[in-house]
Amino acid sequence: MRKETVLLIARHFWMNTFKTRAIYPLMTIIFGLLCFSAYTGWTNYEKQSEIRSHYQHEARESWESNPDKHPHRMAHFGTFAFRQKYPLSMFDSGIESFTGNAVFLEAHKQNSVNFSEASLSTGLLRFGEFSMAMILQTVFPLIIFFLGFSAVSADRENGTLKIILTQGARWKEILMGKTLGLMALALLCLAPVGLLMLYFLIAEGGDVEGLWPRFFVLGLVYGMFFMLLSMVTIAVSTSSGKSKNALIKLLAIWLLLVVLLPRSSQALGSYFFPSPSKVEFQSVIEEEVIQKGDSHNPNDPFFKQLKDSVLNAHQVSSVEELPFNYGGFVMAQGEKNSSIIYNNHLNELMQIYKKQNSISELTAVINPYMAVKNLSMALSGTDFDAYVDFQDQAEKYRYELAQKMNELQMEYISPAKVSGSDGKSHVVGKENWSEMPDFHHRFFSFGKAVKNELLSLISLVLWCLAAVWYISYLSKKAKSV
């Protein structure tokens, strides 16, 4: 294979493309779409980040401004966790619009993460979400197909192919050349996206954890995806008798892989692995908590026994004589029990969701679009795992907060005050409130994100290799007429 010939053919393909007039309006539209999605992604990121950090601040200020009071009151006063947006979310919003953004954290009660964009939406969100990633994943394949569907077949139809072959070019060189030409075109379209993102990230991202490796790998993934698409286009164009057939085949591939398969596979997942309703979920937890020991039941055997053993250990006859506040001790125990039970069930639920998602994740093996979609979300910090991670962080913080307040109660509230938390006599100094650190959402690490999507990454690489192999296979089989 001669390099010069390959480059010559690539250059020729490239120049031919720019000679057709249709490319200019097409490029303008694409560029307009990209700019619009970049703009909305950017402003949405800015606005939402500002809103959330504003309210995180407000909530914190309100927390710190509390006067001296009984710590259990503070445990119920609680605080909020707001999910921070990862800077790359302006590129790919992933499932962010469908996950809640704010959760109220208080003692004894795991609240739901509320106010997702979807719950505030009018139903239009179901048409899909506008983002740069969406344009790259769904619109660009069509563009590449359009630019390349006739690359080889048109030459065959008008007889140029025979001439090139008789002039000494080999099939391999022709296919390589055309593929390179198309790839270069595709990557040319990717470049402005990269530059736009670079601009935004330098302006906004700062030194957020893992930003640059994520950005780099994202570029790599989309680069591979576009190369794969170019190879598929050339392969279909080579193996189809007529340009028309090539185009129809490519459009069918697009419909199947981009529109039909993703939605049906997710629907199948939900169909086969039904998840419990909220009432069911909560009542099972409630029942288990009651069995384990209900701190709200005055005659609960578990807590009765606990009391007896504590009294025994300290050699006293009533809780008022204990060296610590017994009410705080009971609540700490109750919190521990119920949290373990709740988290077990939550994990189970998350496992069911993961199973539901697994079918569509597995289709990444047969559907490179899915592989790219998964990778893109994971790298942008907007996938399911990143969300679960936020949920876990919030719950962990909630638990720490509740236990810290219980500790304060055990230590500083008079043992004589067994129940009740009102009034201004049994209180703890307000300096304790600001000592409890604020909730801080840490982003999911880059390494874990890549690890979770290893299957997608491998499948994408394999697809590229298979496409290279198929093109070289075709070059031995292809016919010029």
Binding site: Y55, E58, S116, S121, T122, G123, F127, F146, A267, V279
Partner: protein
């Protein structure tokens, strides 16, 4: 002639394959709708059983204090989906259909979400509505992109122009075969859905049918307009698919992102903080002030009197007055949020007038009672339900009535009553106007072509 046209149409394997694929997806859509309805049904049953057990248990624990008991007791209000909801699940997978509330501060409870898998939400429901809105147009495209061009490419068009009296009539006849097949498929799927989901035959179902009918006709007019430009098959396929992409994905997604960017809802988060501070901070403020605010809201309870001084011990009267303040102080933000959501809906609906895909999606949701408006209504009904419970229990708590004298049996989950009036003009007019406009353009193009001798 007509029979031959049908025969010719069904001879293609692609046609059979596509019809089969869409039918299978349509049936899947119906089953998914069925699963959705069953799930809601089950949740309703569970909440009924749960509420009874929950009340019984708590009543047995907390017989001495009515106020303490009411701290725990939860009551369910159910927005039972119409059978139609199985056709177009809409927003009802995001928005909970059951509100499960205590008589405490409502603003802290009523926005609680259901348990849902965000990934499933993202990929969207594959319900019959989706099949109609997204897939039927694709089928129409597959059936019509080579309506004329194929004849030209194979060379039969010459024959047709010589032999038939009117080329247009021939083309329309060919088109009508496809229209009939698609309509038959649509009617078949809808009938299957009616039977499987058990939808009653009422105005809403008929409206759903008519709207789907108009929508199908709309797509045929789109495709026919492309066809009369007499380009080759490839270009037709590409043009039609691009139109589909723009109408079914890009425009709605773009408009959604415009609306959500233009009207962000920070009020949601503000409400959340306000309701907490409104209630919790009352533990430290002057009791008499709180009571005064409470009596200003409910003058009918003034007879229960003021606490003598701030040091007076804990009373449930004071406790629920504090809870009330959570709602009262978040009222402004909460109303602002509601207005914002209403505004979002209005803006989307008015833009949707010009874009049939969006209009049909929103209209399907409205007919099925699964749109955002019906959820806002449900939230309003939740307010009423909660208020009713409060006003019923407040005097009992304040008097510390005997817990066991209350007939707890009667507290069963309640269902909201919905009235669904079909606004025929608003429903059908946008799609009819769009189709009419396209038809007009088609005939304009045809007469232009005739003048130039290209037809």
């Amino acid at each position: 002639m007509y029979r031959l046209m049908f025969k010719q149409f069904f001879r293609s394997n692609v046609v059979i394959l596509c019809l089969l694929l869409v039918s299978v997806l349509g049936m899947t859509g119906i089953l998914i709708g069925k699963q959705f309805l069953d799930r809601q049904e089950r949740a309703t049953e569970q909440v009924t059983i749960y509420q009874q057990e929950h009340i019984e248990r708590n009543v047995s624990f907390h017989q001495e204090e009515f106020g303490l008991l009411m701290y725990y007791l939860k009551f369910a209000l159910i927005n039972k989906p119409e059978k139609m909801a199985g056709l177009s699940i809409g927003q009802s997978d995001v928005n909970p259909a059951i509100q499960h509330v205590t008589i405490r501060n409502l603003e802290g409870q009523k926005y609680d979400t259901d348990l849902v898998n965000p990934s499933s939400l993202q990929s969207g429901n594959l319900d019959l509505g989706f099949v109609i809105i997204y897939l039927l147009p694709l089928l129409i495209i597959v059936f019509t992109f080579n309506l004329l061009s194929e004849e030209k490419e194979v060379g039969t068009w010459q024959l047709v122009s010589i032999q038939s009296r009117s080329k247009l009539k021939y083309l329309l006849a060919k088109l009508s075969v496809r229209v009939l097949v698609i309509l038959a498929l649509f009617v078949l799927l809808l009938t299957a859905a009616k039977l499987i989901l058990g939808i009653p035959f009422d105005a809403a179902l008929f409206a759903f049918f008519l709207l789907g009918f108009c929508y199908i006709i709309f797509w045929f007019t789109v495709c026919f307009l492309v066809v009369v430009f007499q380009k080759n098959s490839s270009l037709n396929a590409l043009t039609m698919l691009s139109l589909w992409l723009v109408l079914a994905i890009l425009l709605p997604a773009g408009i959604n992102s415009y609306v959500s960017n233009r009207y962000p809802v920070p009020e949601a988060l503000a409400t959340m903080i306000e309701q907490r501070d409104g209630y919790h901070k009352k533990w430290d403020s002057d009791k008499r002030e709180t009571m005064a605010d409470f009596y200003a809201h409910y003058p009918q309870f003034e007879e229960y009197g003021m606490p003598v001084d701030d040091e007076e011990e804990f009373t449930w009267l004071w406790y629920y007055a504090m809870q009330q303040m959570g709602d009262d102080e978040a009222r402004e933000e909460s109303d602002a949020m509601r207005e914002k959501l209403e505004l979002r809906g209005q803006v989307s609906r008015s833009i949707a007038w010009a874009i049939p895909t969006m209009h049909v999606q929103l209209a399907f949701n409205k007919l099925a009672g699964t749109g955002s408006t019906s959820h806002l209504e449900f939230l309003d009904k939740t307010n009423e339900f909660h208020e009713k419970l409060r006003l019923y229990f407040y005097p009992k708590i304040f008097d510390n009535a005997l817990v066991l004298e209350e007939n707890w049996e009667k507290f069963k989950p309640e269902f909201i009553v919905k009235e669904n009036v079909v606004e025929w003009f608003r429903l059908l007019l946008p799609v009819i106007i769009c189709s009419g406009l396209l038809l007009f353009l088609t005939f304009l193009k045809l007469s232009l072509s005739k003048q130039k001798g290209e037809w």
